[in-house]
């Protein structure tokens, strides 16, 4: 039910892993609405859901289902790389066309827009840590399409005076969609009793941010009236090698991968989050090393084996 005392928060792409993490966390302060093409309806689902495919031409009538004065968190993102099934066209429509249709239909209802972008818009960094002034030079389809979305938003929101916040994220972990990412794979393999091997330079550094930190950060953003473009991650690079060492199963005979091969496609990327700290003042608290240590609870597994 709508509570007139609360502000209205529309989460576009709310049925994804990040979206789901937001739902319960923000429902005390906001009337929450979700717009997505996947059917999220479950028993006792207490949120207002609008099931629509934004990548197709829209009939503007459906916007009437939503109230005015919407604060929007825009999460839609198709991460798929190109394949023989013309997934490029599908991802363009999910990422760029959907945003365009959304803006065309909702521009009069939006009072603030928070858009989730990605570290991949920077491409291979020319310096580290990456700050917001770093050149935009994406090379993956996802990076290119997120950068395109940013371009569209910057121009359109300026024109229609919609306050815009763009958050460029590093790898988020602690959510279902990240289960195939390195931190989760390392933990899962450790628990199963074997070591992980991947083809990359183990000395490269990455930046990982836990979903709880992201949720708390967004709370800060929502409380503040300040807008702009911000990098958000843990704000510190960690060597992949360090993560491998933490999850090295000593009982396993297969040694830790320490290839002397060079991997020209491997590169480090991590954020400078000082702009965010200065503006919103949220300091991430969950360190990936501590998270892995807790997850694998080494003693427990070593005793067992």
């Amino acid at each position: 039910m709508m509570n007139k005392m609360k502000k209205n928060l529309l989460i576009v792409g709310g049925s994804g892993s990040i979206g789901k993490s937001f739902l319960n966390k923000f429902s005390d302060e906001f009337n929450i609405f979700i717009l997505d093409k996947k059917n999220l309806k479950k028993k006792n689902f207490k949120f207002n859901l609008i099931d629509i495919d934004l990548s197709k031409n829209l009939n503007n009538d459906f916007t009437k289902k939503l109230p005015d004065n919407l604060i929007v968190i825009y999460l839609v993102g198709n991460l798929k790389n190109r394949s023989l099934e013309n997934t490029l066209v599908a991802s363009i429509n999910d990422n760029i066309t959907s945003l365009t249709n959304f803006l065309f239909s909702f521009k009069d209802k939006i009072i603030r827009l928070i858009f989730f972008s990605s570290i991949s818009v920077y491409g291979i960094p020319t310096y580290l840590p990456i700050d917001e002034n770093h050149k935009i030079n994406p090379f993956t389809d996802y990076g290119i399409q997120k950068a395109c979305c940013e371009t569209i938003l910057q121009s359109y929101c300026k024109q229609f005076k919609i306050p815009l916040t763009i958050i460029r994220l590093t790898q988020v972990y602690g959510i279902k969609s990240a289960y195939s990412s390195l931190p989760h794979v390392l933990v899962t393999n450790f628990k199963k009793g074997f070591n992980t091997s991947i083809k990359t330079d183990l000395n490269i550094q990455r930046d990982y941010i836990h979903i709880d930190d992201l949720v708390n950060f967004i709370k800060y953003v929502l409380k503040s009236k300040k807008n702009g473009t911000f990098n958000f991650g843990f704000g510190k690079g960690i060597k992949i090698l360090k993560l491998f060492k933490l999850t090295n199963n000593q009982n396993n005979k297969k040694p830790l991968q320490t290839s002397s091969k060079k991997f020209p496609n491997s590169f480090s990327q991590y954020f400078d989050i000082s702009k965010e700290l200065l503006t919103y003042g949220y300091q991430p608290t969950i360190n990936i090393e501590s998270w892995i240590k807790i997850k694998i609870n080494r003693k427990k597994y070593e005793k067992k084996t």
Partner: protein, 288 residues
């Protein structure tokens, strides 16, 4: 009855300038856009990458032929894609608002990414390799999926457009120059390297046909027969009987092996396309 309004974007470009001359003779109220200032009454000087400039465009429009584009197949800078995207997005907004009857977008065969295939139809995998090709794929989708259902959208994927006056940066220009000045000619894989040409006259005729047809969707716009480099060279050589310099044949992996099919277009069009020999002849005659 008042005349129907046609807007041609990018009128100072290669295709835009020929299309403007072609449609000027038709019974239409013509408007064009170009970044360059022009004395022509019907031209609107504006930068379509700038959203604010949309307000300079006609309040009412029946047809649009969109030629404006940053053409650069070599530069891999994101700026190329970004500028073309801005034009595509801004025009999407314009057609979303104005709901013209027909919108013809001059796209490019670069959306396919030049794969090694001799029969590329409109359903072939889109796999662009340049920022320019990528921007063409994005804009095609934007126009198709954000416009009103009352607007017919056509994405015409043009091949290598031959005009009587061609830019000096074009390979054909350089080849003619070598023949004319009796310079050594280097041909890379002449029997495997193909040219998917289309004559500008046929681009104009296709646009005219589509304005009032019922067709919509994507069409490859190329000639019936796509010559290889050897055939092009042999044809051009006939105009320069005094050419006596060396011809070097070299191996290269950087060649275009793809051949685009125009079967979908041929099924609905009633005229035959200009063959490449005629287009090349027009270039030589213009040069003289």
């Amino acid at each position: 009855m008042s005349k129907k309004t046609l807007l041609i974007t990018g009128a100072s470009g290669l295709c835009g300038s020929y299309l403007t001359n072609f449609f000027m003779k038709k019974d239409l109220e013509l408007y064009t856009t170009s970044r360059k200032k022009s004395n022509k009454k019907y031209n609107i000087s504006c930068d379509l990458t700038d959203f604010d400039d949309l307000k300079k465009l006609p309040k009412k429009v029946d047809y649009i032929i969109h030629c404006a584009s940053v053409v650069d197949e070599i530069n891999s800078d994101f700026k190329i894609l970004e500028n073309n995207l801005k034009i595509g997005f801004n025009l999407s907004h314009y057609i979303h608002q104005k709901k013209p009857k027909c919108f013809i977008n001059l796209s490019s065969i670069s959306v396919y990414g030049y794969p090694d295939n001799r029969n590329i139809d409109e359903n072939f995998l889109m796999n662009p390799i340049s920022q320019y090709g990528y921007s063409k794929v994005i804009n095609e989708q934007l126009f198709l999926n954000t416009s009103s259902k009352n607007t017919r959208i056509l994405n015409l994927r043009l091949g290598y457009v031959l005009t009587p006056k061609i830019p000096s940066r074009y390979f054909i220009s350089r080849l003619i120059d070598m023949l004319k000045n009796n310079k050594t000619v280097t041909l890379f894989e002449p029997s495997k390297n193909f040219f998917n040409f289309i004559d500008i006259d046929d681009v104009c005729k296709s646009c005219l046909y589509f304005l009032d047809s019922k067709a919509s969707g994507s069409f490859n716009v190329v000639m019936d027969i796509q010559p290889n480099l050897q055939q092009v060279f042999d044809e051009l050589k006939t105009y320069f009987p005094n050419f006596s310099s060396k011809i070097l044949i070299k191996h290269s992996t950087q060649i275009n092996k793809c051949v685009i099919s125009n079967q979908k277009l041929k099924k609905i069009m009633k005229f035959s396309f200009t063959p490449y020999c005629n287009s090349l002849s027009k270039i030589i005659l213009n040069d003289e």
